[in-house]
C-alpha cells in the first residue's frame, strides 16, 4: 500500500491520480444530484440558500480542479510513455511530488466542509470582490483558495514531467511527427498547463493575500483585473479538459474502424492552432463587463471554428471506408463527437457578444459547458476507459454492461442538459437556489432532474462493470483490439519498465498497423505467386 503511494513508476502514479479523480467524479456527481433535487420544484426547500451556494460551488470546483483536469493528466502520465516507447518518465519524483500536492490541495479544499461558515461558496471562479474577506469571511473559503492553489501547483509539476518525457525519452525512430494522436493531444495539454496554470497560482495567492488585508482586487479595475487574470488561466484549462479526451475518442475510433486516424498533419496543425488561439480568447467570458474589447475576443473565439472543423473532417475521413466494429469504446467515442457538436455550436453562439449579452450568466451557458464537459469530455473519458482498461488491468470490461451504461448516459445527458438551453434562453439565471413560478420552467427543470437521475444510474452501472470485470476476469491478452500504437506491443498490464521485448520499427504514428499492413501485403504476394505455378 505505502509502496504503491510512493512508487515512482509513472503507471502507478497515474493510476492513483486517476482513481482519486474518479472518486471526486462520484463526489461531484452527488453534489449535482443535490442541485437537481433542489431545482425540481420552484421555490425548492431541500437546501437552504447558503447550502445551495456551497453545493454548486463545490460541484463545479470538484469537477474542474479535482476530476476532469487531473484525469486528463492521469491519462497522459499513464499512456504517453507507453505510446512513445519510453521505459519510464523523465523526472518521476517531480510527478510524484505533484501528485501529492494535488492530493493535499483536494483534501484542503474539501476540508472547508468542516467549518461553520461553510466551504467555498462563490462559484468555481470566485470573482472578487465577492470572494474577498469582506464579503466571504471564514476559513472554509480560505481553504478553497489554498486548495485550488496547491492543486494547481501539483498539476503543473505532473505536466512538466510529461512534457520532459516527450522531449527526452522518445524511442529511436519516434520523431515528433510519428507521435500517436493521443500523445499529441496530451502534449498540447501539458504545454497549456505549463503556460496557463502559473496564472491560476498567482491569482489564488493574490486572492489569499487580499482576503487577509491587502485589498488588491478592489473597485472596478480590481474586479476586472481579477477576471482578466483568472480567465487567462480559465480558458486554456477548458482545452486541457478537452484535448486528451479528444485523443481518447480519436484512438478508439481509429482502432474500431481498423484504419489509422485520417488527416494526421492537419490534426497536428489544428491542435497547435487551437492552443495558440486558446490563450487569446479569455475575454469572451467578460463581454458583459464593459471592461474588454469585445470585437477582438469575438474574432479570436469565432476562429475556433477552423480547428474544430478539422477534427470533424478527420473523424469522417476515418469512418469512410473503415471496417467498423461497434464496441462500447466506439459508442462512447461517437457520442463524444456528436454531442460535442452541440457544445461547440452553443460556444460559437456565445462567442458573439450580442447573443452573449442574453446568454451570459444564464442556464444557456450551463447547458453549453456541460455539453462540452459532460457530453464531450466525460464521454471521451469513458471511450478511453473501455479502450485501455484491458491494457491497464489485463482484463476486459463487460461489453453488455458497457452498452447499458452508454445508453443510460446518452439519454440522461441529453435529458439533463438540453432543457437547460431553452431555460437559459427563456431567462433563467444560473446559480440560483430558487426559481419563481414561470410558465414552462418547472416542466423543463423536472426533465433535467429526471435526466440527472438516469445519469446516476448509468454511472452506477459503470462502477458495477468495473467490479464485475475485476472480480471475474475475462483475460484480455496483450492486444485485444488490433491496436495501432506501441502500448499494444507490450504485455497487459505493462511491466515496471514498460517493454520487455525490443520495439518494432517505428515508421509512422501507427507502427503496429504498419506491421500488419506489410504482413498482409507479403501474404498477398505469396498467394499470387503460388496458384499460378499449380495451374501449369
Amino acid at each position: 500500500m505505502i509502496g504503491s503511494l510512493t512508487s515512482t513508476d509513472h503507471k502507478r502514479i497515474a493510476l492513483n491520480l486517476g482513481l482519486m479523480s474518479l472518486f471526486y467524479f462520484v463526489l461531484g456527481g452527488c453534489f449535482a444530484l443535490m442541485i437537481r433535487t433542489q431545482l425540481a420544484v420552484p421555490g425548492g426547500t431541500f437546501l437552504s440558500d447558503q447550502k445551495y451556494n456551497e453545493i454548486f460551488t463545490m460541484h463545479g470546483s470538484t469537477m474542474i480542479y479535482l476530476f476532469v483536469t487531473p484525469m486528463s493528466l492521469a491519462l497522459a502520465l499513464y499512456l504517453v510513455p507507453l505510446q512513445i516507447g519510453a521505459r519510464a518518465v523523465a523526472a518521476p519524483r517531480v510527478a510524484l511530488t505533484g501528485f501529492w500536492m494535488w492530493i493535499f490541495g483536494g483534501l484542503i479544499m474539501q476540508s472547508g466542509w468542516l467549518s461553520t461558515g461553510g466551504p467555498g461558496q462563490d462559484g468555481w471562479f470566485s470573482y472578487a470582490p465577492l470572494s474577498s474577506g469582506t464579503y466571504t469571511p471564514g476559513w472554509g473559503m480560505d481553504m478553497w483558495v489554498l486548495g485550488v492553489d496547491l492543486a494547481a501547483l501539483g498539476m503543473i509539476l505532473i505536466a512538466v514531467s510529461v512534457a520532459l518525457t516527450i522531449a527526452r525519452h522518445r524511442a529511436p525512430g519516434m520523431t515528433t511527427l510519428r507521435m500517436p494522436v493521443f500523445t499529441w493531444t496530451a502534449l498540447v495539454s501539458v504545454l497549456m498547463v505549463i503556460a496557463a496554470f502559473p496564472m491560476l497560482v498567482v491569482v489564488m495567492s493574490l486572492l489569499f493575500i487580499d482576503r487577509h488585508g491587502a485589498h488588491i482586487f478592489v473597485n472596478f479595475q480590481g474586479s476586472v483585473d481579477y477576471q482578466n487574470l483568472f480567465w487567462f488561466f480559465g480558458h486554456p484549462v477548458v482545452y486541457v479538459m478537452f484535448f486528451p479526451y479528444l485523443g481518447c475518442a480519436a484512438e478508439a475510433v481509429a482502432a474500431n474502424a481498423h484504419k489509422r486516424w485520417f488527416g494526421y498533419m492537419a490534426f497536428v496543425l489544428s491542435m497547435m492552432s487551437f492552443s495558440v488561439l486558446s490563450v487569446s480568447v479569455w475575454g469572451h467570458h467578460m463581454f458583459v463587463t464593459g471592461g474588454v474589447t469585445n470585437q477582438y475576443f469575438a474574432f479570436t473565439s469565432t476562429l475556433l471554428i477552423v480547428p474544430a472543423g478539422i477534427e470533424y473532417f478527420d473523424l469522417i475521413g476515418t469512418l469512410l471506408g473503415g471496417a467498423i466494429v461497434m464496441r462500447t469504446a466506439m459508442l462512447f467515442a461517437l457520442g463524444f463527437f456528436v454531442q460535442f457538436l452541440i457544445g461547440g455550436a452553443s460556444g460559437i453562439w456565445t462567442a458573439s457578444p450580442v447573443l452573449d449579452y442574453h446568454a451570459y450568466g444564464s442556464y444557456f451557458v450551463v447547458a453549453h459547458f456541460h455539453y462540452t464537459l459532460f457530453a464531450g469530455s466525460v464521454f471521451g473519458f469513458f471511450a478511453g476507459v473501455y479502450h485501455w482498461f484491458p491494457k491497464v488491468t489485463g482484463a476486459r470490461l463487460r461489453e453488455g454492461l458497457g452498452k447499458v451504461h452508454f445508453v443510460l448516459l446518452l439519454i440522461g445527458t441529453n435529458a439533463t442538459f438540453f432543457p437547460q438551453l431553452i431555460l437559459g434562453y427563456d431567462g433563467m439565471p444560473r446559480r440560483i437556489a430558487n426559481y419563481p413560478t414561470h410558465p414552462g420552467w418547472q416542466l423543463l427543470n423536472d426533465i433535467s432532474s429526471v435526466g440527472a437521475g438516469i445519469i446516476a444510474v448509468g454511472v452506477a452501472v459503470f462502477l458495477a462493470n468495473l467490479v464485475v470485470s475485476l472480480r471475474r476476469r475475462e483475460a484480455a491478452g496483450d492486444d485485444p483490439w488490433e491496436g495501432q500504437t506501441l502500448e499494444w506491443w507490450t504485455t497487459s498490464p505493462p511491466p515496471r519498465f514498460n517493454f520487455e521485448r525490443p520495439l518494432p520499427p517505428i515508421t509512422s504514428y501507427a507502427p503496429l498497423l504498419d506491421l500488419r499492413e506489410r504482413a498482409a501485403e507479403l501474404a498477398e504476394r505469396a498467394q499470387e505467386a503460388q496458384p499460378r505455378g499449380a495451374e501449369v
Binding site: 440558500d49 451556494n53 462563490d122 470573482y127 470582490p129 465577492l130 464579503y135 473597485n219 472596478f220 474586479s223 474502424a257 481498423h258 484504419k259 489509422r260 485520417f262 488527416g263 494526421y264 498533419m265 492537419a266 458583459v288 464593459g290 469585445n294 470585437q295 469575438a298 469565432t302 476562429l303 471554428i305 477552423v306 472543423g309 478539422i310 473532417f313 473523424l315 469522417i316 475521413g317 469512418l319 471506408g321 471496417a323 467498423i324 461497434m326 461517437l334 456528436v338 457538436l341 455550436a345 460559437i348 453562439w349 458573439s352 457578444p353 450580442v354 447573443l355 449579452y357 442574453h358 450568466g361 444564464s362 431567462g427 439565471p429 446559480r431 440560483i432 430558487n434 419563481p436 414561470h438
Partner: protein, 230 residues
C-alpha cells in the same frame, strides 16, 4: 447579402436601436446555421457508421490534402460571415450612445440583494427588494440611458425581454442606451452571482405607453397605470 437589422417603425425620432429586434435579426442567422451544422454532421457520422459497419477490409486512404485545404477555406469563410453579422449587430447595440440623445435617464444600482431604480428627473427611487417589490417603470419606444453601478460586489442587470444585460460593477458607472419595443410586464434578474440571496434579486419591468408613463412619473411613482390599462 443579409438585410440590415429592422427598425421599429413607431420609434421616436431619437431611438435608433431596438435591442430585441437586433438580437432577433442576428438570431435568425445563427440559429439555423448552428442547428444545420449539428444536424448535418450528425447525419454524416451516423450514415458513415451504418454503411461501413459490416465491411471486412478497410481502405487505406488517410490523407486528402487538397480537399482538406479547400474545407479549411470554407471554414474560414464561415467564420468571416458570422463575424460580419456579429459586428454589424454589435456596432448598433454598443454605439447607440453615439447617435441617440435620450431624454430619460435612470440610475440602476445593485446592492446585496436588491436593485435601486432612481429617476433623477422625477426624484423617484424604486427598490426591488423584499419590502416593497417596486418595479422598474419605463416608456415604450424611447431610448433610455441606464447608468448601472453597484454598491458592493458585482451584479448583472438582466432584462431578458430586451435580450440584454450589463454588469453592475462596484465604484464604477456603465452607461448603456436601451429601448423597449413592446408594452407589457416583464421580469428581470441578477445574472452575476453575488452571494447568499442572489436568487432574490429579481424585479418587475413595466413598459408603458408614453402617456401612461408620464402619469406615473407625475404622480411621483405612486400611480400604478399598469393595473388599469393593459
Amino acid at each position: 447579402m443579409p438585410r440590415a437589422p429592422p427598425r421599429e417603425k413607431r420609434l421616436s425620432p431619437f431611438a435608433l436601436v431596438n435591442n430585441r429586434g437586433i438580437y432577433s435579426w442576428l438570431f435568425s442567422f445563427y440559429a439555423p446555421i448552428g442547428i444545420g451544422v449539428v444536424v448535418l454532421y450528425t447525419l454524416i457520422i451516423v450514415v458513415a457508421v451504418l454503411v461501413y459497419r459490416r465491411r471486412k477490409v478497410p481502405n487505406r486512404v488517410h490523407e486528402a490534402h487538397r480537399l482538406e485545404l479547400s474545407y479549411v477555406v470554407v471554414l474560414i469563410c464561415m467564420a468571416t460571415g458570422l463575424l460580419y453579422l456579429t459586428y454589424t449587430a454589435e456596432h448598433k447595440v454598443d454605439d447607440a450612445q453615439a447617435y441617440e440623445r435620450p431624454a430619460l435617464s435612470i440610475d440602476v444600482t445593485g446592492a446585496r440583494w436588491e436593485w435601486l431604480f432612481h429617476y433623477p428627473r422625477y426624484r423617484i427611487t424604486n427598490e426591488s427588494g423584499a419590502v416593497g417589490r417596486q418595479p422598474l417603470v419605463v416608456p415604450v419606444n424611447e431610448p433610455i440611458a441606464f447608468h448601472i453601478s453597484s454598491d458592493d460586489v458585482i451584479h448583472s442587470f438582466w432584462i431578458p425581454e430586451i435580450r440584454f444585460k450589463r454588469d453592475a460593477m462596484p465604484h464604477h458607472t456603465e452607461t448603456v442606451d436601451l429601448t423597449f419595443s413592446r408594452r407589457g410586464t416583464f421580469s428581470g434578474s441578477c445574472a452575476e452571482f453575488c452571494g447568499l440571496l442572489h436568487a432574490d434579486m429579481v424585479f418587475t419591468v413595466h413598459v408603458l405607453s408614453d402617456s401612461a408613463f408620464r402619469t406615473w412619473a407625475a404622480s411621483g411613482g405612486k400611480a400604478a397605470p399598469w393595473r388599469t390599462a393593459s
